[in-house]
């Protein structure tokens, strides 16, 4: 009897790359009578426009995992960012700055720069995670019992924003092309600091290149400059 139970579990774990979710999923609560536009507006009011945070980051790829500390300075209105990655013993791994259109790699250890266009790959992930967390203009909303999904076509891709849980917060942002998942960003365990919402956990799944980035919020730093 046991083997009939355990074999499917092993297969399932293998298929999902043993990718557990180390965060609490948003509670399933009925959306209730609320207009999608209201959900978007309420969330917009709670989003920090500028923030400086310390995260721990785990990059998972082909069964391997590496972790480091990330310092991120993000301006979601100006669409600019600066990210510094450090080892846990304080050695700088990378320093990157950019905006929606260009990226400048100020520093990276040699091991990183050997691997393709490293700077652009990191910058793309930062933009997916922190930029455009509100559905774009003209996004179509569909309300289900437990979630509201905003959907919009952008350059041949479909970008969807999923709002759910207590307070109807953004829980997922995803991109599909021809109904094939390209990437997803999941947001977990929101906490309120200075009247603004910060997800304590973020997972980016890049389905195309088959890697996962797990981000844990450690500290929200004051913006001094």
């Amino acid at each position: 009897m046991f083997k009939y139970f355990i074999i499917p579990v092993i297969i399932l774990l293998h298929l999902t790359g043993c990718a557990g979710i180390p965060f609490q999923k948003a509670e399933r609560v009925p959306i209730g009578k609320i207009e999608p536009s209201e959900v978007k507006e309420q969330f917009a009011l709670m989003l920090p426009e500028k923030f400086r945070i310390i995260n721990s980051m785990v990059f998972e790829y082909k069964g391997e995992a590496i972790s480091f500390i990330g310092y991120s300075d993000v301006d979601t209105l100006e669409k600019t960012f600066t990210v510094v990655g450090l080892t846990q013993f304080g050695i700088k791994l990378l320093e990157l700055t950019g905006n929606n259109y260009k990226t400048e790699l100020r520093f990276a250890i040699e091991e990183f720069t050997k691997r393709g266009n490293f700077a652009e790959a990191v910058a793309d992930d930062i933009k997916k995670i922190y930029f455009n967390r509100l559905p774009g203009a003209g996004a179509e909303a569909s309300a289900k019992k437990y979630e509201i999904v905003f959907s919009r076509n952008e350059n041949g891709a479909t970008i969807e924003h999923v709002f759910a849980g207590v307070g109807n917060l953004l829980v997922e942002k995803r991109c599909t092309v021809d109904n094939i998942a390209v990437w997803s960003v999941y947001y977990y365990e929101y906490r309120v600091e200075n009247g603004k919402l910060y997800p304590a956990g973020i997972i980016l799944e890049n389905h195309k290149y088959d890697y996962r980035l797990i981000i844990r919020l450690k500290e929200i730093m004051p913006l001094t400059s």
Binding site: R52, I54, S56, V58, A65, I66, S67, I69, Y71, D73, T82, V84, L86, T87, Q88, F89, G90, I91, K92, E95, T97, R106, F107, I109, E110, E111, I214, R216, K218, E219, M221, T224, S225
Partner: protein, 213 residues
């Protein structure tokens, strides 16, 4: 031959430094080497403050360091992340809370790690005379001793580091603070607190896993 004090990097007391002769420096280095050679084990807490030029803000890491001569070194970080690194001759084993995994890294196959770890070993060793080959060494202060190391051009450290200042405790048995200024403008201050010398180091300190503290 005289060594000239050339610059001040975040040390207000630097301005009071006078020129010191190479003889003085040599004597100080020999004295430090002798005193530190009497130390077989070290257990100390640390506060690491990294000032990133790009943020103009300090990032603080706290933890403990364990050293057992000749070559064992354990680096435990408690805040803002939990992390343990155990160094032996050519490999490091590291564990972190987020992955929950122990990873072994060959230093010879990871030049960036090797350079960083090599630097750590140098500063913790107290044996600085061999560094005269690659660094200009300035005696900033004699009581308590403060030394400034400026890498010579075209050395490995010279590509990254502008200077390293090492302040010793009053008893000169160990380091009080290391201050590193990088060429990119970042600085790192490593302050050692609650340092205990020549005491037995518990076996758990050498385990790459959750800290037993």
């Amino acid at each position: 031959m005289l060594l000239f004090f050339t610059a001040t990097y975040g040390y207000p007391q630097d301005s009071q430094v006078t020129e010191k002769t190479r003889t003085d420096l040599s004597a100080v280095l020999s004295r430090l080497e002798k005193k530190m050679s009497e130390i077989k084990t070290i257990k100390t807490d640390f506060i690491q403050e990294k000032e990133l030029a790009v943020f103009k803000q300090k990032v603080v890491l706290k933890g403990s360091v364990y050293i057992e001569k000749p070559s064992r070194l354990a680096w435990h970080v408690d805040n803002p992340v939990k992390y343990v690194m155990i160094m032996s001759e050519d490999t490091i084993s590291q564990w972190d809370e987020d992955t929950g995994r122990v990873q072994k890294i060959s230093l010879s196959k990871n030049p960036a790690f090797e350079a960083a770890i090599g630097q750590m070993r140098i500063w913790f060793s107290g044996s600085y005379s061999p560094l005269l080959k690659d660094y200009e060494i300035l005696l900033l202060r004699e009581k308590p001793v403060s030394l400034k190391f400026i890498p010579k051009p075209a050395t490995l450290a010279g590509n990254v580091i502008k200077s390293v200042t090492v302040d010793f405790r009053k008893d000169e048995q160990y380091i009080n603070r290391i201050f590193i200024e990088e060429k990119g403008g970042d600085t790192t201050s490593l302050l050692f607190v609650d340092t205990r010398l020549n005491i037995p180091v518990e076996a758990s300190a050498w385990k790459a896993g959750p800290s037993q503290k």
